[in-house]
Amino acid sequence: MISSHLPVLQVILPLIAAPLCVILRQGTLSWLLTTLVCFMSLAISSCLYDQVMTEGVISYALGGWLSPWGIEYRLDKLTVFMLLIVNGVAAIVLLGARSSIPNEISSDRLYLFYTAFLLNLTGLLGVIVTGDAFNLFVFIEIASLSSYAMISIGRDRRCLYAAFKYLIFGTIGASFILISVGLLYAVTGTLNMNDIFQRLPDVENTRTLTTALVFFVVGVGIKAAIFPLHLWLPDAYSYSPSIVSTFLAGTTTKVFIYVLIRFIFSIFGYDTAINGGTFNNLLMMFACAGILYGSYLAIKQDSLKRLLAYSSIAQLGYMLLGISLATEAGLAAGLIHVFNHAIIKVALFLSVVTIIFYCKTDSIIQLAGLAKKLPLLTSAFLVSGLSLIGVPMTAGFISKWYLIKASLQSGYWGLVVVIVFSSVLAIIYIWKFIEASYFKSSEKELVALNEDQKTPCLLLFSLALFVIANIYFGLDSSFNVELANAIANDLFRK
């Protein structure tokens, strides 16, 4: 009985829990509730994964109103793939939040943080499951508003400015998506994604449709921080409480990459969207520029969080690159990287969270000689860093392998050059920290360790989980690779 309502439970559960947190008004209790909800949510998404894999696409009519009149939740393989990523990151990151968040957010605001977190999760999950274009916009705004709140909640006053900047950019982006939805409604008279897809061939090659596509891509580009629309991202990641950056890096931008894929394949239809090659050539150009730009700026940063933020811009370029190849192999490579980058970046950010927990700073210069004091922690960073670079036996290598292979199969030699060159840049920026922490002996006691801190067991546990995942998915990538291939196959056949 309940199993048929899982799609809606996935979204409702965190939504109900959010106000409960406000009622609880207490940090620890809210944390317990939030963690519980996240793990239940994770369990729901694994059940959904099972259902979709065995029974195929699930269509759920919200409130019993059948589509196209009511809102439809539509779950296919891509949906459950994203659900697993978002829920997995959320649940495990929250475990780590227990130890680190009280240092960065004043205790009387803790419950508000958890409320915002749950709302954000609601929004992201909603974006993923919904099959209704306007509903998607609403969920995007739920996710965005709560993430502005999460960013601005920290003790560091700069986070306020970062949040405001993000709010302005994000609102413009969401409004662009709204315009696009409006134009689509104007030409098709429906908001159901599947329905739009069916009716679009009648209005093919109209200017309204092209305009809708352009507004959509720009809007989602802002939200997903695709170069050159990424300006909000470095500030938002580097000034917000570090666990928030971790969560955002692992989920938000990837969900918007999902939205991009969903609109291109399930709404506009692939042939309309690529528009004779112009569209994906443009995407490819921006992807390459983003990869090089992000990697280059990452090298120049001293703050680890900012470094990782710029690296994220580059990595988003990889995902976009995969999509822009306009082949099944390319799309699969992009999706594989969505998955792998989630575990890589979260592992890196979690190690930075732990570093900040111990040392109260994320400046590379000040962290010289860290490896002598926290050898395990720096090696965790090293392993995830190697994964980011794409060293064999780590998850990052799998992504690079498929990306390069897909570009070679499409005959784009230039892309291979871009990918390997940016890997070299990645070596430089990861090595900057590794060299400072392992091989520079600080003249004075630069690293002020908070020895009296209790060992953050949960934080270390979640970090360890992600580091192990980096190696595990480097050795046995059958799960994500096969799923990504199946998704790409489905999307292209549609």
């Binding site: 306007f134 705004e141 006053r157 306020l160 405001f164 709010l167 409004s175 908001l191």
Partner: protein, 115 residues
């Protein structure tokens, strides 16, 4: 496609550009929020004017009125207005905290203080 037939779109575009211009050009954070609001309003008008049919009435089922406007855009825009108001509220709250933290609501000055 004469000008009058598409004049609602012209209004939308002009309003939208005014809004965007304010967001980009003004240093005052509150004015930026006002710009965002104008920008969003233009989108509301876009939706609502699309749903209007000349001579159409409210969609009430009876024998007299057979021609009626689609109610859906109105419903959507009600939701979008709620979203817009929440955004504005959150934006203003952040501006107030920015003012407390930095003593100014000027974009440039805050940026200078951060660097």
């Amino acid at each position: 496609m004469d000008f009058l037939g598409t004049f609602n779109y012209w209004v939308v575009v002009i309003l939208m550009m005014i809004g965007l211009y304010i967001v980009i050009a003004h240093q005052n954070l509150v004015k930026k929020l006002i710009g965002i609001n104008i920008f969003q309003t233009s989108i509301f008008i876009l939706f609502i004017s699309m749903g209007k049919i000349t001579g159409g009435t409210a969609p009430i089922l009876n024998e007299v009125n057979t021609l009626y406007s689609s109610p859906l855009p109105h419903v959507l825009i009600l939701t979008a207005i709620v979203v817009g108001i929440s955004t504005t509220a959150l934006g203003l709250a952040i501006v107030i905290r920015l003012y407390h933290a930095f003593g100014t609501v000027d974009d440039d000055e805050i940026q200078q203080e951060i660097e």
